[in-house]
């Protein structure tokens, strides 16, 4: 067994535990450097992870994949974690006592996501999933003096645990029917059996429901607006990006490797879910007055777009998912960093309070506009290229209707994205005082904006990596 394949995960664990121990050893007032320590540590791990492309091996006898697909998603998660921890330092400081623990839990959540994206077996998958979600339960309820936060935490826990239970029941049925928990062996056993038993169908439906909850697909989306609104904003950003991307990685691996022979059946299911998700996510986003709720519904809609790549079930579709996932990281974290800094200064998350933001802080307004327009898919921003990859992967597979829904709803989404921009640029500010943005957050804002514009104009570097990821999944 070659433990060096697990270097990235082991380094992440050591980082989390190291920061926890350092936090215990130094007095409370000196712990504020820990946030930067975590950012630097994660950035180093991200840098090291580039060396793992092209290995395409499995560890622990097929239980754990170290292929380009998992490395790509790990990098996506690490990018998200680096940006979130860098942007969050001031916000967390204002939140009160447990400063170091916030970052430790963030790293643990990232670790869970990494395991989830690499899992080649159900027990590993379940452990990754729970490491991620339990860390998120804690992070969601992290604001001690704000009971909205605790309430969001318990709601997330109840619904999250319920969905884990359903997913787990599905996993147990698949295990029982095939006699193995290794994903690639499930496919072999299913091919030997020839047909689907009723219990297997139930298991697959339960898996769809469980994963649907984690990626907040309609009709399993009811938790996400509440949790997004109540959670501390950096957590919301990480939750929207990381947990969704990791769940997509696991979903793709399970359905494309374990059930390729029955893709017609689950494609239908996912197509229906994707259509519902795109329509409802976008339509419900329109009347929202709280920007975090608006972004929550918009991220539900984004999950719908990404699902179209899963429906394609080929290398082109997976490339679309990987590419769009990475863009979505930058756009979402950019938008949430603006929300974070705005609320740290004004204490408000209401869209109407964003009036005249362009005059109070041109940077914040510009970044929010770019990020929202990228999510809407306006060329030349990155979101356009991503949607192009996604939709073109299913158009010739008989899912033209889904593409049309996606395009129509993207147009509808421009309306609510632009209405935020309109408030920021056209309306007069109630209060003229400029908004102070700390250096770390400023760096995150600039990075997200530049990357979003750059990848829209020149998507080549990212699409090469996304291609590698997709090809490693289909050999």
């Amino acid at each position: 067994m070659d433990l060096s394949l697990l270097t990235i995960e082991i380094a992440t664990v050591l980082l989390a535990i190291g920061v926890l121990v350092i936090g215990l050893l130094i007095p409370r007032e000196q712990r504020f450097g820990l946030g930067y320590l975590v950012t630097i540590g994660l950035a180093i791990i991200l840098f090291v992870s580039f060396g793992y492309y092209g290995i395409n091996a499995t560890a622990f006898e097929g239980m754990y994949y170290v292929d380009d697909f998992s490395i790509f998603f790990k990098q996506l998660i690490l990018v998200a974690a680096v940006l979130v921890t860098l942007a969050a330092t001031l916000y967390v400081k204002k939140m009160g006592t447990n400063y170091g623990e916030f970052f430790v839990m963030t790293v643990f959540a990232a670790l869970g996501m990494m395991v989830l994206s690499s899992a080649g077996e159900f027990i590993t998958l379940y452990l990754g999933l729970e490491t991620m979600t339990i860390s998120f339960y804690i992070l969601t309820g992290f604001k001690k003096n704000d009971s909205k936060s605790a309430e969001a935490g318990i709601k997330y826990l109840i619904l999250g645990a319920m969905s884990s239970g359903i997913l787990l029941y599905g996993l147990s049925l698949v295990y029982g029917m095939t006699g193995t928990t290794v994903i690639s062996e499930v496919a072999v056993k299913l091919a030997e059996m020839g047909s689907l038993s009723p219990a297997m169908v139930v298991g697959m439906v339960f898996l769809v429901a469980g994963f649907g909850f984690k990626i907040s697909a309609v009709p399993f989306q009811m938790w996400s607006p509440d949790v997004y609104e109540g959670a501390p904003t950096p957590v919301t950003a990480f939750l929207a990006v990381g947990s969704k991307a990791a769940a997509f990685a696991a979903l793709i691996r399970v359905f494309m490797i374990a059930f390729p022979d029955y893709s017609l059946q689950w494609k239908m299911l996912f197509a229906a879910l994707a259509a519902l998700t795109i329509i409802i996510g976008n339509l419900v986003a329109i009347p929202q007055t709280n920007i975090k709720r608006m972004l929550a519904y918009s991220s539900i809609a984004q999950a719908g777009y990404i699902m179209t790549g899963v429906i394609a079930a080929n290398a082109a579709g997976v490339r679309g998912v990987a590419f769009y996932g990475m863009l979505y990281v930058f756009a979402t974290i950019g938008a949430f960093t603006v929300v974070m800094n705005f609320s740290a200064n004004t204490g408000s998350d209401e869209i109407r309070d964003y009036a005249g933001l362009a005059r109070r802080s041109p940077l914040l307004a510009a970044v929010l506009t770019v990020c929202l327009l990228s999510m809407a898919g306006i060329p030349p921003l990155a979101g356009f290229a991503g949607k192009f990859y996604l939709f073109s992967s299913i158009v010739d597979q008989g899912y033209l209707w889904l593409v049309i829904i996606g395009l129509l709803m993207s147009m509808a989404s421009v309306y609510y994205y632009l209405s935020v921009a309109k408030v920021m640029y056209m309306a007069d500010p109630v209060d003229d005082s400029p908004i102070v943005v700390p250096a770390g957050a400023k760096a995150v804002l600039l990075i997200t904006m530049i990357v979003t514009v750059f990848l829209g104009v020149y998507p080549q570097p990212l699409s090469v990596l996304a291609n590698l990821a997709a090809n490693s999944l289909f050999f």
Binding site: K144, L157, G176
Partner: protein, 102 residues
Amino acid sequence: MIGLEHFLILSGTLFCIGLFGALAKRNAIAILMGLELMLNAVNINLVAFARYVTTGILTGHVFAIFVIAVAAAEVAVGLALIVAIYRDRISVNVDDFDWLKW
């Protein structure tokens, strides 16, 4: 003779009872108990499958052990959150958890 079906029926029933409890109960503690029932139903499934389908291979048992450990962690976090809310509102009734709209 007790066979695999009996265990599956038991676990299916237990799972439904747990799901019903989690959805219908108003007391947050009772909801957590419902969730535990769901996870234990899964454990019965896993152990039964390990016994009857893959006799001699302990994957199912190991899976069940991991589920037990994770469930404990989940419940610990859940109780901590419930206590945090209780200190604020003197209630564990989920109908009172209405500061965010559902």
